[in-house]
Symmetry: C2
Subunit: 219 residues, 2 copies
């Protein structure tokens, strides 16, 4: 059913600004392969990433009702994306209430992730922020089968990207990453995360996956 909604599949290269803030949208994008991020930019090069997208995510489904985004979407790696015309989404809302609620659910999930990030940025110190981000991505990747348990999983972000997720500088991320490595909880090297002690990592981050609503996911 959702497969039917995809009108086209495309490849996009890494570092490509797929959607720019303020653009008028006529279709939505499902990420099929690769990593993307949503971000907002301020003067003087200040940049804040608002979400990391992994395969399976709709990256701009909220654009179906908003029509214009107030943030941008950029590829972190080369990606394969599915194009879903708003017109087909409109038809789904007219004829498939259940599917509509499912789509609505996925945007609400994004919002729940945003709120967790607000909490991190507002109230967690740098080391907990990093730990929490690793927990979140590990959990989400596991849900879609992209993080084999107990092995390193790919996370194609630079330390500067991590800094833009966490409201830090890359210099500080570098130091905190070393702290995490020394603590034995988790390592991040060459765009790969190796979790050494998941329990310790989650405890440090006060990570509770409930906000990701794994029990209500389709498929």
């Amino acid at each position: 059913m959702l497969r039917w909604a995809i009108s086209d599949i495309r490849s996009v290269s890494a570092g490509h600004a797929t959607i720019r803030e303020g653009e008028e949208l006529s279709h939505a994008i499902v990420l099929l392969q690769g990593f993307m991020c949503r971000h907002k930019d301020l003067s003087e090069g200040r940049r804040q990433i608002t979400e990391i997208h992994i395969p399976g995510d709709f990256v701009d489904l909220h654009g179906f009702t908003l029509k214009k985004l107030s943030d941008s979407v950029t590829t972190l790696t080369s990606c394969r994306i599915g194009i879903v015309p708003h017109e087909r989404l409109l038809r789904i809302t007219e004829t498939h209430p259940h599917l509509t609620r499912l789509l609505w659910f996925t945007t609400n999930l994004d919002a729940a992730i945003h709120r967790e990030w607000v909490l991190s940025l507002g109230r967690r110190p740098a080391i907990e922020r990093l730990a929490h981000l690793f927990c979140e991505l590990h959990f989400r990747l596991t849900l879609v089968g992209h993080a084999p348990p107990e092995t390193p999983f790919p996370l194609p972000l630079t330390q500067a990207d991590l800094a833009d997720c966490l409201g830090l500088t890359s210099v500080h991320v570098n130091r905190v990453l070393q702290e995490l490595r020394d603590s034995g909880a988790v390592e991040f090297r060459k765009r790969e995360v190796t979790i050494r002690d998941l329990g310790a990592l989650r405890a440090l981050a006060e990570f509770d996956p409930a906000y990701l609503h794994p029990e209500r996911r389709p498929r």
Copy 2:
């Protein structure tokens, strides 16, 4: 139509935890009068407010698809709230696609506000965060006719509440508030905001109301 969805109207006193994290929901709440906030809590009393709700807001519409919230909702003042059973929302999604998209839109608006907060918390210094929050609330209150232009408008938060919105301590909020007052842009006293120079305030905050999508609001 939305009026019909409300099964009951209730009064709630100030400081009342209306919804607690993890509760199973069977109805949604529209705020008719008063102020509420959504927040998440961490160990050792750390608290982060994730959104301020004003009259007209659905405070937990995302709970319709998520069923369990990962945050709590608390009244800031005494409030009048409308109860909207999920069962009626379900019926709306089955029979009124347009209205469904409208409800979906409002939850996407919440997410857009969350993203702006992520940006503030991650990349704006304290004074800009405060300025931006005042801009946001002024703009939203104006949209629903609760902030007469050019006069003080009520904002029933303590400095500690502001701190919990902005990821600061109340001590620091106090100092930054004085700075803002001295700058001539805005004053906050006795739970009232007086904007002295809206242009300067918005410039300081780099406030662009586009993310609030005023053009797509119903009513």
